[in-house]
């Protein structure tokens, strides 16, 4: 029974990891930008959700669409001001320079948040936080269940968007070969702008959910870390595998907590990550990459 409880928590955490990694995987898969500052964008979105709750008592789950709009705009600005300058580079240099640039952005965002809001840990506390459904002694937290549902819905919606709509197909074409896509009449610059802004908008989803847990300027790096692990586990460009990879990581982590204790929570994922990186760099999940 005890193990089952751990696995439930693992699944809940895992779907949150999936939400976190989605934006990172999109930017990486579509444009070849590894945005290390993604976790910090999530941190900023979490602050946005926190202040909405604190000042206007907006429920963190209601603030998801709001934060998505805000983060979409922020992503567009960020792309135009910073990342668009990298799109002229060949793909490997793009990657390197995007790591460097987002590295700098990470420092800027973290320190900006510390200056603005101090290093205190905060969180949103909607009335249902801490409430659970009890099934045969296994506790299912409301927020956890909502997180799982949200992760599944978002992943499915994204899949439908990328495979069924015209614009989604244009994005996939651009991801596969942007030069060919340009020759086929796709506006690559606009596709990049939209894709990047959308990738940042997903930080609004993850940030709002995370605001129910803990918000502080230093959480960004941890979430980037989880995002990176998932991108590697899923395989670069394999958007569909992000959520399964997240669930796997969550469960493995939960089992390691059960066996080795809480302090080593982060290590299990990283060890898995290093092993996959060395033995199977194309990712754990087979099948056609979604992008």
């Amino acid at each position: 029974m005890d193990v089952a409880q751990f696995i439930i928590y693992g699944l809940i955490n895992g779907s949150l990891y999936g939400l976190v990694a989605l934006g990172l995987a999109l930017a990486f898969g579509i444009m070849g930008y590894l945005n290390i500052a993604h976790g910090d964008l999530i941190m900023l979105a979490a602050y946005g959700s926190f202040w909405l709750f604190k000042i206007w008592h907006v429920d963190p789950f209601i603030s998801i669409p709001l934060m998505m709009v805000v983060m979409f705009a922020a992503g567009a600005v960020l792309y135009v001001a910073v990342f668009s300058h990298l799109s002229k580079f060949p793909i490997l240099d793009r990657l390197k320079n995007s790591i460097l640039v987002s590295f700098g952005l990470m420092m800027v965002f973290t320190n900006m948040a510390t200056v603005l809001w101090t290093a205190d840990e905060r969180c949103t506390t909607p009335f249902y936080s801490g409430m659970v459904i009890d099934i045969a002694g296994i506790r299912l937290p409301y927020i956890g269940l909502a997180t799982i549902a949200l992760a599944i819905i978002i992943t499915l919606a994204l899949h439908v968007f990328l495979t069924k709509t015209y614009f989604g197909k244009a994005i996939r074409a651009t991801a596969q070969d942007w030069e060919a896509a340009e020759l086929m009449g796709i506006d690559v610059a606009r596709t990049y702008l939209f894709s990047f802004a959308f990738a940042v908008a997903t930080a609004g989803i993850a940030g709002s959910v995370i605001s129910t847990n803990v918000v502080s300027p230093s959480i960004g790096l941890d979430w980037t870390n989880y995002g990176l692990i998932l991108v590697i586990l899923a395989g670069v460009g394999n958007i569909n595998a992000i959520l399964p990879a997240g669930l796997l990581l969550g469960v493995v982590e939960a089992i390691s907590v059960y066996l080795a204790g809480v302090p080593y929570t982060g290590v299990a994922g990283l060890v898995m990550f290093v092993l996959v990186l060395m033995l199977r760099p194309q990712g754990l999940f087979k099948g056609r990459a979604a992008l």
């Binding site: 640039v101 700098g104 870390n225 990176l228 080593y264």
Partner: protein, 312 residues
């Protein structure tokens, strides 16, 4: 190629600067300046060490904290156990070298970005593990703490920064350095003309981690007491990278210039808002990567050209 005359000129300038720096503590007894300069030398050391691998060989080591930390840890532990410091100090460098061999080598076989991601993961793992295993404070051996003196630390840092700069200068101006830069610019082409790129990457990695470990050893010598995890803090990954790029990546002067700016900014805001200095430095860094790939050092070259043009 550098002419002999140019080399002599550079050498004499370097000797002059080092002599001047060596002279400072004898006149200025102000501990503040000596402290700040010691820190500056430390940053020069780890930035130069980062530069040989990241700047000249093109392998982005985003996990330098692991190597810095292991150097500090090894030096501090062997020193506390009773090894004299002049032996404990190189132990730090050697242990970083071992870590590079053990964990870094397999990841070097992976292409470009995987090395960056892999080293970053290594740094995070090291940080978590050390924080859990050694949660306490690392204390220096009692008799050393009792008669702590800044001067030996100052001179150790100065000679460390000087020797790492000298070694890097010699390496990058040799055939090896040329091979490293070729590896960075086009690995396939380098292989095709017979450059053993893997060997050169390993050499650059070895040099980089050894000096980073020595930097860690200095850290363990400089601070009487600190939490064991502090030298493993991820800041030690970011700062040398930022410093190198702001100053001028793949140049010898770049890391020095970057360290001057970094330490100056840090000290300016140390008493008011510590975070502001990193914020400013981060913005400058992003700007440099995007619009000034040669770093601030390239400004002087541009300026000189402009001047030359207007004169002619």
């Amino acid at each position: 190629m550098i002419s002999t005359q140019g080399a002599w000129k550079k050498l004499s300038v370097a000797a002059g600067v080092v002599a001047f720096l060596a002279f400072i503590p004898t006149v200025m007894s102000a501990h503040y300046l000596v402290n700040v300069l010691s820190l500056f030398f430390l940053y020069v050391t780890i930035a130069q060490a980062w530069n040989i691998l990241g700047g000249y060989t093109g392998q982005l080591n985003v996990g330098q904290a692991a190597f810095f930390g292991i150097g500090a840890l090894a030096t501090r532990l062997t020193w506390v156990v009773g090894l004299p410091f002049y032996l404990a100090f190189p132990v730090g460098g050697i242990s970083a070298l071992l870590l590079a061999g053990l964990i870094g080598l397999p990841s070097l076989r992976l292409r470009g970005h995987y090395f960056a991601i892999g080293t970053f993961a290594l740094a995070i793992i090291a940080r978590i593990v050390i924080g859990n295993i050694l949660p306490g404070v690392a204390l220096a051996p009692g008799e050393y703490a009792a008669n702590y003196s800044l001067l030996p630390r100052y001179y150790l840092a100065l000679s460390l920064a000087f020797s790492v700069t000298l070694v890097m200068h010699l390496v990058v101006n040799s055939k090896l350095g040329l091979g490293m830069m070729t590896t960075r610019d086009d690995e396939e082409a380098a292989e095709a003309i017979g450059v053993n790129t893997f060997k050169l990457k390993v050499l650059a990695f070895a040099l980089s981690s050894f000096f980073t470990g020595l930097g860690g050893g200095f850290f363990a010598f400089y601070y009487i007491s600190y939490y064991y995890y502090v030298p493993f803090d991820l800041l030690w990954c970011f700062e040398p990278l930022l410093i190198t790029f702001v100053g001028g990546v793949a140049t010898i002067i770049g890391p020095i210039l970057g360290s001057i700016l970094f330490v100056a900014l840090k000290e300016t805001f140390a008493l008011t808002f510590g975070e502001i200095s990193v914020l400013i430095f981060g913005v400058v860094f992003v700007f440099v990567v995007l619009f000034l790939p040669g770093g601030l050092i390239s400004l002087s070259e541009k300026f000189r050209r402009l001047l030359h043009k207007s004169v002619v």
